[in-house]
Homo-oligomer: 124 residues x 4
Amino acid sequence: MIVLDYQDKRPLYEQIIEKVSELILAGVLPEHAPLPSVRSLAMELSINPNTIQRAYQELERRGIIYSVKGKGSFAAGIHDLKKQKQEEVLKRFSELIKEAGKLEISKEQLMDEIERVYERGECT
Amino acid sequence: MIVLDYQDKRPLYEQIIEKVSELILAGVLPEHAPLPSVRSLAMELSINPNTIQRAYQELERRGIIYSVKGKGSFAAGIHDLKKQKQEEVLKRFSELIKEAGKLEISKEQLMDEIERVYERGECT
Amino acid sequence: MIVLDYQDKRPLYEQIIEKVSELILAGVLPEHAPLPSVRSLAMELSINPNTIQRAYQELERRGIIYSVKGKGSFAAGIHDLKKQKQEEVLKRFSELIKEAGKLEISKEQLMDEIERVYERGECT
Amino acid sequence: MIVLDYQDKRPLYEQIIEKVSELILAGVLPEHAPLPSVRSLAMELSINPNTIQRAYQELERRGIIYSVKGKGSFAAGIHDLKKQKQEEVLKRFSELIKEAGKLEISKEQLMDEIERVYERGECT
DNA sequence: GTGGTCTAGACCACG
DNA sequence: GTGGTCTAGACCACC
């Protein structure tokens, strides 16, 4: 379900946070679906349970999952989360357009790129 | 000419690389314009000359400046460099569009954002 | 594993880069094999850790090794790397032939030299 | 007659040595042909006469030119020089072939490259 | 004076 | 423990 990339410079727990976020946002893990336990996921990935714990904690802080003592961790709803992510991406998008403008990339060139990506269906 | 941000998490030498790159790409420092010497810039910024040296070295490796022993460091030409930067930005742009698509941001929303930024002239 | 030549005019870190490159390209260090840590290699060679750090950093930039904070540095894959090196050597080869031509060295003389080296098996 | 490259990392006097050597070896300056005076060449290149002086001194030491007090500097014979250069190039050639062999470049590939360069007449 | 290399010793984030 | 960043101070080659 989750594959770690040891060449990735980011810490392992960040990779796990990202992967779980994606699984939930993509709908693979619907609301209230149980996540693997800290210990089992640690075993499966052959890493220290502390690392999983740290990732789950941060995921809970962000409202992406919720944990119940003695029962396990579960996927939370994504309605608010999606809006957050959208805003974040739009902000990065806006920054990148400014950079493009400074480099004299034309509006049309950017528009074409959008058309290209959306037509190819490269956004699933 | 250059202001460091000590709140910035990135290393100082990266900030310097970025600032100098921008000055040259923006044409503030034309081709063959002399850069401040390693020592003088270190004094001005109140940091260690090694840090400047590291930044200049990386800038030279990237072809943004060139250094001559005993003479100083100078801005390099930007003709090829600009193309490189443009390609890099377009690649990042493409990646970001894919992310936006996954989050169900519509083509029109992205187009509008581009119009907005270009009309406001936020790209100088 | 690595021997420094203090008579060599090149900086130490370049020698280290070269030696490590050769070890990896020759297959002595297979993909994902751990390299000695920055500190241990510095101890072994009786030089400053910074010098090793600089070499490893450049090796990573070139894609010859990869480093993971808190874990260590490891040999990267060499598939693409070999092609790069081949192209570089062929380019230098071409330049050298031109020089030879200018000095009125005959085609045959060069051909003979190639035969000689390849027969003696001086290319392992 | 001589153009300096300020982007070149080597000291100016080395560039001058190389350029003058080439002019003489190529036969542009035949034996006993007068070289520009130290002062005039310095003026022409807009550099310090000391730098020219240093270059001419080294050229005389190598037997490539000879100087006569009060008369000027002149091109020397090139018979021995050519042999020296040829030997040097052949040595570098041999080293490069070994490198090529280690990278699994075939004998045929090298031979083809020689044919290519010599046919194109890229060695004048 | 300039850039380039190296050492010694420190602190940080990560696992 | 690991790699990554930074400082302080030194020496070299070149101009």
